[in-house]
């Protein structure tokens, strides 16, 4: 006998399920002492921290700017944080490789599963973002044109912001599936997520930089500003607060309402069928890859067998670490997502400096890179420690290795080939094209030295085997910020001294000092790493 309210019961059960999965996070799977009660208590502490983090926004958004700029900056900041939150939530609950074995043979529609998941993500992110905006909203009430209606308008606009961001990410998955087919789904899903994350982060950063640079006194908005989705939301809020109604404002209002709803309709209704296909395809075995005789070894494996690779990596364990890293970074979804999203994000930081006024003639050009390369180097080192493959890492614990050093060296070299060198090449080309002077490349030397040294730091602060740690996404936000901030700050210091050294004609001497310093620092790091015992305690 099927109860008449079955769908409502299912919706409630699924909501509770996905809400718990989201709030507890995947990392809880590795916490055998996890206590649901304690987790609920910690959640309140988390909310308090989010409210306190809202101070960042208050500090960033200048008070004496036109209302439109003020609210656009609030939304840009919000989109940046919400974008990261949505991406994390999507990777946490949207696609679970074994979900078809758990849910798809039960009498529940896949469309309902998708809609409930989206609702869970929306509610959780919306609550966090409201809390994040709380202080800034209170601060905004002191503005002359703002009254209590702002609280309603901003809450509504935040809802539309998150609905649009979330629908955009889900739609990106659907479109990839439609365009590229299920055979290559896993790869394209990851690519879609990376591209969507990058688009959200880049557009919100660009919007932030642009609006932050506006001089408030004589500023007049032009219609093209409606290219920024954050401006649409600001226009909607202006309308609710009764500010002058211009065609610019109306265009923004229409877009603010229409686009998120249209995206949501497409993502959660029109293309929802694609989700069922995606979830069941994730569980299917791909047809075996046909390999021509004599071509059994992939290019990377063949390359590590070449004589010059053997010179670069003499130890076979190092070469094994190199190959394992290539495989993890190019094939494992979680690692790929972390690796490429962060790298795309960090490697575009120089663009923001340029938007903020550092041009080809600037004597600073080239000297703001140490922070960026330091961050990239640190991130590369950090990513190769994490992929939650505890049992996979056991193989190294069984083998008679004296320390995790050789594996780490190979892994580090793989990330240099995959990311560091390509990014260095791209920025070198951009700088040469901008300045039409090859001599500019000289200014990148401190950045390269610093970046290479930073890549050792994670394994020294968290001694472990490569790919054996759990996902740092669950790591405390403050700790994550600190780890990112430090390379940036030290990098800025190095950049500043390098600039000064160039101005006083001591640049080459300074580079020599840096090279010698970093050489000995790396040597010290390597010696410490080689003294580390192999992490024997499996998680």
């Amino acid at each position: 006998m099927v109860p008449s309210n079955l769908k409502a019961v299912q919706r409630r059960a699924l909501y509770t399920l996905f809400d718990r999965i989201y709030k507890r996070g995947r990392r809880v799977q590795w916490n055998r002492d996890f206590n649901p009660e304690k987790s609920r208590r910690r959640q309140w502490l988390g909310y308090a921290i989010v409210v306190a983090m809202g101070m960042l926004m208050v500090g960033f958004v200048p008070g004496k700017t036109p209302f439109l700029v003020f609210v656009t900056l609030m939304h840009s900041f919000t989109t940046l944080v919400a974008g990261l939150g949505v991406m994390y939530a999507c990777s946490e609950i949207l696609f679970h490789e074994q979900e078809s074995d758990i849910l798809l043979h039960r009498p529940v529609e896949t469309r309902l599963i998708l809609q409930v998941k989206a609702w869970v993500i929306f509610n959780n992110i919306y609550l966090q973002i409201l809390l994040f905006n709380l202080l800034a909203m209170a601060f905004a009430l002191s503005r002359p044109e703002v009254d209590a209606r702002f609280l309603v308008s901003h809450a509504l606009a935040l809802g539309l912001n998150i609905l649009g961001t979330l629908s955009f990410v889900i739609l990106a998955y659907h479109v990839c599936l439609k365009l590229f087919g299920r055979e290559r789904l896993r790869n394209f899903m990851t690519t879609a997520q990376i591209v969507a994350a990058f688009a959200i982060l880049f557009s919100s950063q660009a919007s932030l930089r642009y609006f932050k640079a506006i001089d408030g006194s004589a500023w007049q908005p032009s219609v093209w500003l409606n290219c920024f989705p954050t401006v649409w939301l600001a226009n909607l809020e202006s309308l609710i607060l009764g500010l002058p109604r211009t065609p610019f404002l109306w265009t923004g209002v229409v877009l603010a309402l229409l686009v998120p709803l249209l995206l949501a309709w497409l993502a959660l209704s029109v293309l929802a069928g694609a989700y069922e296909e995606a979830v069941s395809a994730l569980n299917e075995q791909a047809p075996p890859r046909r390999v021509a005789p004599g071509q059994e070894r992939r290019w990377a494996e063949r390359w590590t067998l070449s004589w010059w690779a053997k010179i670069w990596m003499r130890d076979p364990v190092e070469r094994a670490g190199f190959l394992l890293t290539l495989a993890q970074v190019t094939r494992v979804r979680n690692v790929k997502l972390k690796f490429f999203t962060r790298l795309l994000q960090f490697s575009t930081y120089p663009c923001y400096f340029m938007m903020a006024g550092v041009d080809a003639q600037s004597p600073w050009l080239g000297f703001f890179f140490p922070g960026v390369f330091g961050l990239i180097g640190y991130t590369l080192g950090d990513v190769i420690l994490h992929s939650e493959e505890f049992s996979g890492a056991d193989i190294f614990r069984f083998t008679p290795l004296p320390s995790p050093a050789a594996l780490f060296y190979g892994a580090r070299k793989a990330t240099l080939v995959l990311a560091f060198i390509p990014i260095l090449f791209i920025w070198s080309t951009v700088l040469v094209l901008l300045t039409r002077d090859v001599a500019i490349l000289e200014s990148l030397i401190p950045s390269v030295l610093f970046g290479l040294t930073c890549s050792y730091v994670p394994v020294l602060t968290k001694p472990s085997l490569i790919f054996s740690l759990s996902d740092p996404v669950g790591m405390a936000f403050s700790k994550g910020c600190l780890f990112q901030l430090l390379p940036m700050l030290v990098g800025a210091l190095i950049g500043g001294i390098s600039y000064f050294a160039q101005q006083v004609g001591l640049f080459h001497a300074w580079v020599l000092v840096l090279a010698v310093g970093f050489f000995f620092l790396s040597k010290f790091f390597r010696a410490r790493l080689e003294r580390q015992p192999l992490d024997l305690e499996a998680t």
Partner: protein, 262 residues
């Protein structure tokens, strides 16, 4: 109860299941056998509606899986080989969620869960306090089995259900499914453990490269093949009869006394 007609599943150039036709009446336990990659799991997944067949039809409890998918899913209990669970939930949270998906009232679900955990020797406290990630493999398997039986379905599909169960739990489970079959439930039991299949199943079906190569009662199969054991028949039909010689030859390549020390 289950009727497969010309069931075919093709992945790119590979045919996983090739025009499989099979009819299983109520009250029968059918052992689904085959070497790795023979198409057993794919067949089971097509019966559950998790995979859509490339061609052919699946009927369960009189419902066609393409036109009445929800009715088919309501009639089934499935234990997948992966034993997948939401590991961040406690056992109780998981089972209550599964019960709700079948529309079982919360109080009714708790009573049923109590009965199951008593049978499987799990305490209510362990079920409610620990998350599934902290369970042993056998305990997790028990939860997956409970989740398949909770709504009292007329058709049960088991893919390697004994994986991780201890001897006592496995014995209890075998008796349970035999009793369920006597009550009229249809059971498909896919496994590589031929001894168990031989003892528990009324009928044995062997699939090789997606095709049906043998269908009959274990005793009949043995009689038809000159009194050979099910294991010997299986090896003969699936090309494994040369494995003994192959293993002996390979063992000779090992250095006597263990690996050389550097």
């Amino acid at each position: 109860m289950i009727k497969l007609t010309d069931l075919t599943k093709v992945y790119g150039a590979q045919t996983a299941v090739d025009h499989l036709s099979l009819e299983i009446p109520a009250g029968q336990i059918v052992g689904l056998l085959g070497p790795n990659g023979a198409g057993k799991s794919t067949t089971l997944k097509m019966i559950t509606g998790m995979l859509r067949p490339t061609s052919g039809t699946v009927q369960v409890a009189g419902y066609d899986a393409t036109t009445h998918l929800m009715e088919v899913k309501r009639s089934l209990g499935f234990v997948p080989e992966s034993g997948a669970l939401y590991e961040s939930l406690t056992g109780l949270e998981y089972l209550r969620m599964v019960a709700a998906l079948y529309g079982i009232e919360a109080e009714q679900a708790d009573v049923r869960i109590q009965e199951f955990i008593q049978f499987f020797d799990i305490t209510w406290q362990a079920l409610g306090e620990k998350i599934l990630a902290a369970y042993s493999k056998g305990m997790r398997r028990k939860i997956v089995i409970i989740a398949a039986l909770l709504h009292n379905p007329p058709v049960l599909l088991f893919d390697e259900p004994l994986d991780g169960l201890d001897v006592n739990a496995a014995m209890g489970f075998k008796t349970l499914i035999q009793t369920l079959a006597k009550q009229g439930r249809t059971i498909v039991y896919s496994s590589h453990i031929l001894d168990v299949v031989e003892k528990v199943c009324h009928r044995v079906v062997i699939i090789h490269q997606g095709r049906l190569v043998l269908d009959g009662a274990p005793a009949e199969v043995s009689a038809q093949h000159g009194g050979q054991s099910l294991e010997a028949v299986f090896s003969k039909l699936t090309g494994g009869d040369v494995l003994r010689e192959k293993a002996e030859n390979f063992a000779r390549t090992f250095t006597p006394g263990g690996a050389e020390q550097p």
